[in-house]
């Protein structure tokens, strides 16, 4: 980043002016955000017959990387070859395109609302590096668990919850149960 800034200071300045010089706005009311999210979720079901999701697309990208590095391994592992075995392209899946959309939508909204900023959100008692490590570790648990449960918060809890899947409702309570169960022991991370 630093060498880049030295080499092209003018370009970097204009880029940061476009991206960062916006007034930071407040988050919207949670009930309003929920109503909007519900309408997006309904539109997904109405147009496509399926709900939303995030970890499925991430999964396909991981398998894409594996398929590029070690195609023989992918073709021999039962779970992986379903996604990228033979000539199957992991990008040929709606989950990936939904994921790309989430990246674009998050970025544009962050930009318009002045929240596009390189920073680390953390509790006051831990260092930035510790926070990064915890984020990585928590992410690994989340990624592993999401595949084990066949869905993340969006694909299982939100989508399955709205169409009244029993498994999704049980899953939702398990997530909240797991988080509340250990929240006390990790309170130093956040408070």
């Amino acid at each position: 980043m630093a060498t880049y800034a030295k080499a092209r200071p003018a370009a970097r300045r204009s880029l940061s002016r476009i991206l960062a010089r916006r007034e930071t706005k407040e988050y919207v009311n949670p009930y309003l955000a929920g109503i909007l999210l519900g309408i997006v979720l309904f539109s997904a079901f109405f147009l496509t017959g399926g709900g939303l999701g995030a970890s499925g697309g991430m999964n396909n990208l991981v398998v894409l990387a594996q398929d590029t590095v070690a195609p023989n391994h992918v073709d021999r592992t039962a779970y992986l070859l379903g996604i990228a075995g033979g000539n199957k392209n992991p990008l040929d899946s709606w989950t990936v395109w939904l994921l790309f959309g989430v990246i674009i939508g998050g970025f544009v909204s962050g930009w318009l609302n002045g929240r596009l900023k390189i920073e680390t959100n953390k509790g006051p008692q831990i260092s930035t590096r510790t926070r990064w490590g915890l984020a990585f570790f928590g992410g690994a648990l989340m990624g592993y668990g999401a595949r084990l449960a066949r869905g993340c918060t969006s694909g299982q809890a939100l989508s399955g919850g709205a169409v009244l899947s029993v498994g999704s409702w049980v899953f939702m309570f398990a997530v909240f149960g797991g988080a509340y169960g250990v929240a006390y022991f990790v309170r130093k991370f956040w408070n």
Binding site: S55, L98, G101, G138, G139, C152, G167, F171
Partner: protein, 410 residues
């Protein structure tokens, strides 16, 4: 009018359909961002009762989408039978949920929110995404060790109305009321632990709550369409298909389909137990006509590339079964043309079906069997290479339902 969901790929092409998903994703990401879900501290505050934004956004979204989905279904705009419902694998879901809960409070995100966080420049979000990708990689490499567990406690398409044996409308209203109670409780907790003042929250939320209850009550009052309602709506079109013999498939086509690796064929034999025991096609499942509605949920849980073929001795009972399945929106359903009698005639060289017997389509078994051979009879499993049969192909695989798997399923 075609009820939704739309067969997007048919209208727009595969990549055009992906454009729709991209657009849905854009809105999804933007809504997560404006809700504050790009900020891990806001998410984690949920678990210390200080800021229950997660609970409010999630349950409001579920309630709004649910009321709209079942409302659209009640007025016939959307076919709930065709909507993807996450299949229930009870214990893997609970185990995964608990692991995710721990990951949530340690890492501060869930997968979707971490993407939004990283996209807005938050480094903790970026590290979380990298961690999640690593966890996903680890899962793909280790699931083989306990695949039995991962596929265990499978309950299929199992919904809360099934569980409580209640009308969908009752469950919808119940979920709305439960959510409102949770919002009330959540605001009390925020007041106690987070020091916020519920009176400062906008008043319109009461109107929104009341409006949702009224809508949910409306969904209950209108009721979900029964199979008979659904049949009434499509009867003209489907009777025409029957009359033009568009759905009665030649035995040769059925045989070829069973050897087509891209297609799964489910054969449903709706004859009497006696006839079934005398002779049935190999792998044909015996489902007495009266029990056809009971197997609908199982059939709907089959993969999208499944073709269902119902059969009776001739076609009467099979046609009844076909109507039942169609009115329950079971996709890709066909009738074995000429029934089991014609099948035997086609594939058994020694068959002794008289022309007289064939002319009376009374749905009785026209071939005398000395022994009940079931599927051990040679015609039960004909060699597809031994027959050069000419037929007009009728089966067209239509994938109407949404994509297999929810965003995260597989």
């Amino acid at each position: 009018m075609t009820p939704f969901p739309l067969p997007l790929a048919q209208h727009l092409g595969q990549w055009g359909a992906y454009g729709v998903y991209l657009l849905i994703g854009v809105f999804f990401g933007a809504v997560l961002e404006i809700a504050g879900f790009g900020n891990s501290r806001k998410l984690a505050a949920q678990f210390y009762f200080k800021d229950l934004t997660v609970l409010k956004v999630m349950f409001t979204a579920i309630v709004v989408a649910m009321v709209l989905i079942f409302g659209a279904s009640a007025v016939g705009l959307l076919d709930y039978n065709l909507v993807w419902v996450n299949p229930t694998y009870l214990w893997p879901g609970i185990a995964g949920g608990l692991v995710m809960g721990v990951g949530f409070i340690v890492g501060g995100f869930c997968p979707g929110t971490s993407i939004v966080s990283a996209a807005t420049g938050k480094l903790d979000g970026l590290f979380f995404v990298l961690g999640a990708l690593t966890g996903i990689l680890a899962f793909g490499e280790t699931v083989g060790l306990y695949e039995d567990f991962w596929y265990s406690s499978y309950l299929g398409r199992f919904t809360l109305p099934d569980l409580f044996n209640a009308e969908a409308g009752v469950v919808v209203l119940g979920v709305v009321l439960m959510a409102l109670f949770m919002f009330w409780g959540g605001e009390q907790l925020e007041r106690i632990f987070g020091g916020s003042n519920p009176k400062a929250a906008p008043k319109w939320r009461y109107a929104a709550a009341a409006g949702t209850v009224v809508l949910a009550y409306g969904v209950l009052a209108v009721g979900q369409p029964t199979a008979a309602d659904h049949w009434a709506r499509i009867a003209d079109e489907k009777e025409a298909e029957l009359a033009e013999r568009q759905v009665q498939v030649h035995p040769g086509e059925v045989l070829d389909l069973t050897y087509d690796s891209a297609i799964r064929v489910e054969l449903l034999d709706v004859r009497s137990e006696t006839d079934y025991n005398y002779f049935h096609i190999i792998d044909a499942q015996h489902v007495p006509l009266t029990e056809v509605p009971d197997v609908v949920p199982d059939l709907q849980a089959k993969p999208d590339n499944t073709v269902f073929v119902v059969m009776s001795n001739d076609e009467q009972a099979a046609t009844e079964a076909w109507k039942t399945l169609i009115s329950h929106s079971v996709p890709n359903t066909y009738i074995l043309g000429g029934g089991v009698n014609t099948w035997i005639e086609t594939f058994d060289d020694q068959s002794v079906r008289t022309a007289e017997a064939a002319s009376v389509a009374d749905d009785t078994l026209d071939h005398p069997f000395e022994f009940a051979l079931g599927s051990r009879h040679p015609a039960a499993k004909p060699d597809p290479h031994a027959y050069e049969l000419e037929y007009e192909p009728k089966v067209e695989l239509q994938i109407q339902r949404g994509p297999i798997g929810s965003g995260c399923g597989s």
